[in-house]
Structure formats: structure tokens, C-alpha cells
Symmetry: C2
Subunit: 240 residues, 2 copies
């Protein structure tokens, strides 16, 4: 009864985000089930929980089931750069298995449900299961592309452009997993997180958000973002 197993392991959470994520997307049922069985049961973590320590040589593979987490790196003097946000379906730590110790840390930005797979198990999968090896390659290539898109944004875009670009990116990623629709989605992190991702100060980010809102490019109510003017946003974020 593999399908029963599948369901109990993610009891109460929609499967769609995971099933349409980079590592799982398009796999057949037995493969998905197998992958999930290699994971731990789902766990819950409060906001600000450390999921992966920087430099941990035995960091597990973490798959987010629900909520927002992020990978980041802290400089000697405390400045923090958020490298990427991981949303439901995303995995964190695939590269760590190959490069030795984790080059980054990861923590939750909101209450999160996740599952882990031990380093050993991932290694075994990589060695023995050829489609998993392929998947890992593709997932890594994708992650690099995303890192470089972020790099372009940082290097060439001003605050408004960065914000527009990232809002669109979140929307696309979430929509691809059924977590956004009709130009609306939920952002569950603070402006400090957002600022550390964009390489801006909170104050300046806040003003920039204000400007874009007053121009009716998007609106914000609670944690719900509505992209009011898609074409306008795309014009601003020329990376898109």
C-alpha cells in the first residue's frame, strides 16, 4: 500500500507543492513514494529555527513541506546575506553532500513543516538510483541559474527593480506549485528577511515598497501580496 504510506507521511498537507518541485516534478508515483520513504516523518519547527548549521559536515537533506525557510551566510561582522528562500517542495543541502561541509546555514522564516533525509541515505540514492542522480544534476544546475539570476539583480538593478523582480519570481515559483493564483500569494517573512535577500537596508526597502504600492504596482494586506500591475512590474524588472 505505497499510496497510503505517501498520504500518511504528509497528513494534512497538500501534496502538490512537493510533487511539482524541482527534485520531484514529473516522477511517477512509485518513485515519489520511494523518495518520501527515504525521508523522515514530517517535523514541525517554529519560526527562527535553525535547520542547517553552517560548516556542518553531516548536514541532512531538508525538504520543506509547508512554510518558508531560507539559506543564508553571515559575514564576520554580522552582515547577513540571504542566498535563497526555500518554499514548499524545495530541498536544501543537496550540494553539501558533494562539496563537503555546508557553505551556508538555513533557518525558518515562519512556522515550517519539513522532512529530512540523512546524508548517508542521499549518498546511497545518488550512487544506486540513476534517475535520482540525474535529478540531482538538474536540480543543481537550476539552483546555479537561480543564484546567477540573483547575482544579476544585485549587480545591475536598483532597489525598485530588485523588488519588482523578486515579487515576480516569488509569484512564478509559488504559482508553479499551486500556491498562488490570480496574482495573489502569501509572503510569510519580515522585511528584514526581504532586505537581507535583496542587499538593502530595511529602511530603504520599506520606502521602496511604499513607493511601489503608492504607484499601484502591488498591494499588501496582512501577509497577502497582490500584484496589481503585472506589465508594470515586468517593465521594471527587466530581468524577467
Amino acid at each position: 500500500m505505497e499510496n497510503t504510506e505517501l498520504v500518511t507521511r504528509v497528513a494534512g498537507y497538500s501534496l502538490q507543492p512537493i510533487a511539482s518541485s524541482p527534485l520531484f516534478r514529473g516522477l511517477d508515483r512509485p518513485s515519489i513514494t520511494m523518495l518520501q520513504q527515504q525521508h523522515s516523518l514530517t517535523r514541525r519547527a517554529e519560526r527562527d529555527t535553525q535547520l542547517i548549521q553552517a560548516m556542518d559536515p553531516a548536514a541532512p537533506l531538508v525538504t520543506i513541506v509547508r512554510g518558508w525557510a531560507f539559506r543564508y551566510s553571515v559575514l564576520a561582522d554580522g552582515r547577513r546575506q540571504i542566498l535563497s528562500f526555500a518554499l514548499p517542495g524545495d530541498t536544501i543541502g543537496l550540494d553539501t553532500l558533494l562539496t563537503g561541509a555546508s557553505a551556508y546555514a538555513a533557518q525558518t522564516a515562519a512556522p515550517v513543516v519539513y522532512a529530512e533525509m540523512s546524508r548517508d541515505r542521499v549518498m546511497r540514492l545518488l550512487r544506486d538510483v540513476s534517475w535520482f542522480h540525474d535529478r540531482a544534476l538538474q536540480a543543481l544546475a537550476l539552483e546555479r541559474t537561480e543564484a546567477e539570476r540573483a547575482l544579476i539583480r544585485m549587480g545591475q538593478c536598483n532597489a525598485e527593480e530588485r523588488v519588482a523582480s523578486v515579487l515576480l519570481e516569488f509569484y512564478d515559483r509559488l504559482a508553479g506549485r499551486g500556491l498562488a493564483a490570480s496574482n495573489q500569494f502569501m509572503l510569510d517573512f519580515t522585511q528584514q528577511h526581504f532586505a537581507d535577500y535583496l542587499g538593502l537596508t530595511v529602511v530603504h526597502l520599506n520606502r521602496t515598497l511604499g513607493r511601489l504600492r503608492s504607484r499601484r504596482l502591488f498591494s499588501l494586506s496582512g501577509h497577502t501580496v497582490t500584484l496589481l500591475d503585472m506589465p508594470g512590474l515586468k517593465r521594471l524588472a527587466l530581468t524577467h
Copy 2:
């Protein structure tokens, strides 16, 4: 006579840079030879030659034998972000095979000697040669780590810190391939290239370089860089 083949294919160029590069490092002789046989004979390209077109769905794998090349991306309005420099031994385009069309373009920053491997051949190697598959995974993971190091630099560091960080990085990479020693190495590209890599304007980069030189952190004569004050540079570039 595999070793003869190996030598003639790179006639006149030291093998060391390639042999100690991410994709080749630590392989045994037969494997290196095999990889080289899959490549074209070496080619020469003048400065400013396009090696890979953006969006090319059939971009080959390019291995730099001598000289400097770089990967970059251009925004709609002409701003250019250099994503990475490729130096002797580096390969460009591994990810393109997996993600479909190339997300970036590549061109030479100086006269370059290089070799190509067709998309088909790389695909075949990936499928049939398990150590090559492993290598590809590792190389990609490494590239992502490097992209994220660049991201941290852009997001959190000011001009001086970025310059110091990149000088150190070049030195480390070149030294690892026997192309730098006693704190000295050759930089064969213009300040415009450098600026587009760091996300600064040429003017500001130039002033920043001037400041670091007058503080005797490094010196520049012709295209030769000498790192005069390693500890000072490391202190500046807290990413190191």
C-alpha cells in the same frame, strides 16, 4: 600512444592548469586522455570573440586552455553583468546541457586557446561514464557555491571589500593551477570587465583600485598584479 595524443593536443601549453581544474582534477591519466580525445583540437580566438551565444540550445562545452574568458548576461537596456571568469582549465556550459538553452553568453577577454566538446558527446559521457557524471555533479555544486560567494559580495560588500575579495579569489584560483606564485599573477582584461563583474562603474572601480594601491595593499605594473599586503587584503575582504 595515448600520452602522445595528450601532448600533441595541447602542444605548447602547459598541462597543469587543465589537470588541476575542477572537471579534471585528480583523474588518472587514461581518464584525462579520454576526456581530451572527446574534445576538438585546440582553437585560437582573438579578444572579444563570442564563444557561446545566449539562448543557444546546442551550445557546446568549452574548455579554456590559455587566456581569460567570461560568462555574462546583458539586460534589455544594455547593462552587462559578468557572472564569472573562466581561466585555463575551466569549462563553460556544463549546466546548459541540463537546463536546455544557455542562460548566459560567453566571450573572450583576451586572446584565448580553447577546445570544444559537442553537446552530443557530453550527453553521451554523462549517460555512459559514471565518473564523468559524478564529476559533473561536483563541478556544478562548486559553480553554485562560487555564484553564491559572488552574491554575498555584491549584496553585503562595498567597493573596496569587493575588489580585495576578488583579487584574493583570482590569486587562489590561479595559484591552484600553477599560474600564480609569490603573490603575483597576470590579469588579462580591462577595468570595464572588472567593473561589470563587481557591479560597479569603471570610474568608481578605478578610484577604488587607486585607493588600494596608494595604501600599498597591491600594485599593478602592466597586467601583472602583486598582492603586497595579504593580511590587509584578507582583513578587507571578510568573505575570505
